[in-house]
């Protein structure tokens, strides 16, 4: 096996593993990472197949930009949102796998049947004609495919604008002023100001200690909600409180 063969079998296997990981991971973030992995391997395969420019673009555009955009959106949407594994559409999963395998079998069969005896010209000549792969692609893009290239520029601008329009949220009511906000706060009937902070003593400096009101009673509101829910409230030692009172009066 030549070096290229090694490259193909290793990178190809990794790419398939990454693809399977994409489909099989429960969490979306994992899927995204598996895709990135697949794409890096694909970039390697591009380079191995005489397309160094595309390989670089693959890394920069896909793993660098597109996949990061995916991750960003995942963060917006919520990292936790993992798929439920129960399939709701009847027969969807079985049919999908059957069709997928059939598709793969037919494609492999077709490709194998058609290409098994096809010779390979190789890109050495084409890449060296203009002095390199990048120069060759550049020549083609800016001559034969010029109009398509210009059209893609319009496409990209349109896509950017479209994304802005889609993601934009129109403000239907004017932003509330400070006065309105405070009025609303007081009208709501809940505690208008800050809740009292938890108690802080010389010996105890913890959020699970309730604050004491001026008359010495305990303020339950000063304990954060989660601790209250857990029942994680430290009881107040009235002996200590009395000591403090004496210190204060002395």
């Amino acid at each position: 096996m030549s070096g290229e063969d090694w490259t193909f079998w290793i990178s190809g296997s990794f790419a398939v593993i990454g693809a399977l990981g994409l489909v099989l991971s429960r969490k979306a973030v994992h899927s995204a990472l598996w895709v990135a992995f697949t794409m890096i391997n694909l970039a390697v395969l591009y380079i191995a197949n005489g397309a160094p420019f595309l390989g670089m673009v693959q890394i920069i555009v896909y793993t660098g930009a597109v996949m990061m955009l995916f991750l960003f959106v995942l963060m917006v949407v919520g990292v936790d949102s993992s798929d439920s594994l129960i399939e709701t559409l009847k027969g969807q999963r079985i049919a999908a796998v059957l069709f997928g395998l059939g598709l793969a079998a037919l494609l492999v069969f077709g490709v194998g049947n058609g290409l098994v005896n096809a010779g390979t010209v190789g890109l050495v000549e084409a890449n060296s004609a203009d002095g390199g792969n990048v120069e060759g692609i550049a020549r083609i893009i800016f001559t034969d495919y010029l109009i398509a290239f210009e059209a893609t520029s319009a496409l990209l601008i349109t896509a950017a604008l479209g994304a802005m329009v889609l993601a934009h949220r129109e403000r239907w009511i004017p932003r509330a002023s400070q006065e309105e906000l405070s009025k609303a706060r007081f009208l709501s009937g809940t505690h208008p100001g800050n809740l009292p902070t938890p108690g802080v003593y010389a010996r105890h400096n913890a959020v699970d200690t309730p604050a004491l009101l001026p008359d010495g009673s305990v303020s339950e509101e000063s304990i954060p909600g989660p601790l209250q829910a857990r029942g994680d409230i430290r009881a107040v030692d009235h002996h200590e409180v009395n000591e403090i009172k004496e210190v204060g009066s002395a």
């Binding site: 949407v77 598709l103 893009i141």
Partner: protein, 99 residues
């Protein structure tokens, strides 16, 4: 090495992507599967370019990437918009357009 192996690899990746589109419900994962299918196609283009000794295949793959990038931008914006209104990224949720 025979580039037809590369083409077979691309067929396998394409099919895995297709299965992913069909079975996953998270819209973002579905989207990533679509991207995987596009990449599989690109791989085939690259292999064909090598077999034919012609850079046109690579150029087409390049254009596919550009279009895919544009598509991702708009598609993700749509997903965000849907998420904003429905609080869900499930692709089965927006199913009002039916009989």
């Amino acid at each position: 090495m025979n580039p037809s192996n590369v083409v077979i690899l691309s067929a396998i990746l394409f099919s895995i992507g297709a299965i992913g589109v069909l079975v996953r419900r998270n819209a973002i994962i579905v989207f990533m599967c679509v991207e995987l299918m596009l990449n599989a196609a690109n791989l085939a283009f690259v292999a064909f370019a090598r077999m034919n000794g012609n850079l046109d295949g690579q150029v087409v793959a390049f254009f596919v990437m550009v279009v895919a990038a544009a598509e991702v931008v708009v598609g993700l914006a749509i997903i965000v918009t849907i998420f904003r209104t429905r609080r869900s990224a499930s692709i089965d949720e927006p199913n009002l357009l039916k009989y």
